[in-house]
Symmetry: C2
Subunit: 339 residues, 2 copies
Amino acid sequence: MSARKSILITGAGGLVGPLLATRLLCDSNYSQHTIYLTDLAPPIVPSASSSIPADRLKDVIPIQGDITSPSFVSSLISATLQDGANLSAVFIFHGIMSAGSEANFELSLKVNVDSVRLLLDEIRTQAPGTRVIYSSSQAIYGQPLPAVVTDDVTPTPQSTYGAHKLMMETYINDLHRKGYIEGFVVRFPTISVRPGKPTAAASSFLSGIIREPLAGKECVVPIEDRGFRSYLSSPSTIAENLVRVLEMDSDKLPEHRRSVNFPGISVSVQELLDALEKFGGKEKLGLVKEKRDKGLEKVLRSWPTDFDTSRAVGELGLVVDEGVDGLVGEYVESLKRKE
Amino acid sequence: MSARKSILITGAGGLVGPLLATRLLCDSNYSQHTIYLTDLAPPIVPSASSSIPADRLKDVIPIQGDITSPSFVSSLISATLQDGANLSAVFIFHGIMSAGSEANFELSLKVNVDSVRLLLDEIRTQAPGTRVIYSSSQAIYGQPLPAVVTDDVTPTPQSTYGAHKLMMETYINDLHRKGYIEGFVVRFPTISVRPGKPTAAASSFLSGIIREPLAGKECVVPIEDRGFRSYLSSPSTIAENLVRVLEMDSDKLPEHRRSVNFPGISVSVQELLDALEKFGGKEKLGLVKEKRDKGLEKVLRSWPTDFDTSRAVGELGLVVDEGVDGLVGEYVESLKRKE
């Protein structure tokens, strides 16, 4: 009998964790894997659906706890290794988001830096060599930036969130180089259209501008500039690319540079409004209020507006959305499925 | 009566700390300053000389202790604030050097990361807004690199030393942006000719190749390539530039990018050998043994060999050595003074 395999996902009460868990449970390549989900709040466990086989749900194990606690982190990694199981991968998705980090420096330090180090140190001690996929952010970049960011642009964060993410990227690069873990750093575009409620991310309006009016609610856009561009990806493209990194040949990245800017599309506020009108009707536009928030605008304007990810698509085999109508259309379809 | 002012120097048992302390004690601009020196070993206290007024030595206070201990760091910052003194600046010079960090990951993490964070957190708590000058390193760079490194080249360290330095650079940039400290990050060239004994730095031979033969001792060069270039600065130029950063208008650097590559000169092994022959005579060349050390060579070859520091010299007013004969000549003169 072959030993079971484990995959651990942190921050599993968020958006990407459940999305990835669902994607893995639907994939017969991962039928031998137990999926461990952890978060401070109760992790969101995928429910049986047309795509997830019912007998796969017994292999999802939620473990609620505080990832800033050393004893919890130690027991968490131990749990994934029970009965001689092999820990295939850890996805590090937990964190305090951008606006939240800017408002509470100490909390960001504790959650976005110290808990990540705790986790990495437990992994390299208990399960050395495990593949670790760490979600960083385009917030590691800061101004001045070229119109299109390439892999050679120097990260110069202008937010505490970006600075703390960059510190952990640097740590992971070195842990990989030393052979302690098999590290990958992935930097997500802003995920849009993101279901659920507004978040503490400075970019929250980039989902709200579609999601809230379609639900008959107002959305406040904190920037009075319809030409303002953001770099976006749909949730399904993020999930697909995460699985591709999970399966990627480790040598595709240099041993001391483990980061990958995920492919996305550059979209203006006006283009989002046009898509809202197209999918929701003209009257929905009235629910969008443009009201400048200088603090948020400063953070938003420090981020890149477009990337050259031809290497990620060409050499690494990642996929990219086909346009703003695809992003919004995917969300509209998901609403229909829930009805 | 005006309150006294303090300057704290960590790693004061090393090379740069005593050099800077001496420079400050000779400078009438700093006659109101008490100089605190700390290190794990007894700090080196400058002695009276033709250039240091005898009555200034009472204003040097050595505090021996372990900077990885939270209680020590707290008491250290408290000491500099005694009797309402104003802490003008902290120079962070302590650390485990490059080869030492590569050999002992955990020790580098403790000394090069955790103790720096401890110190910065005590400063921002007890003496917010204090000017902090942190010595980073050219080891934050890694291959591939252009022949000449500019301020726009992305740091991609290929050593634990460089990775840990870069993590603290990122932390300091953000502490400055938040207004918690007045941060400056300085990256030294390799200091040559460095007096004293060989160190645990991968670059140690770049001083040894001059210093040891002049003292009648052998020096082993770990790379068999006389065209191999390194980026060097004399000790006196480092000290002068540190004082210039101490006095620099803070707004000369962007609020989220606080690093300055110190000016230096690009010198080949052959040019160092030529200078050794010029100042020491042809027979000294026989004391230099070239014997490849693959591990050290890998670290050395990951570093930059030349920089464009025209901004540091032009806009920031830093100074640069005039050539390899200047570097070696300064050392030869210092030997004569000791005789």
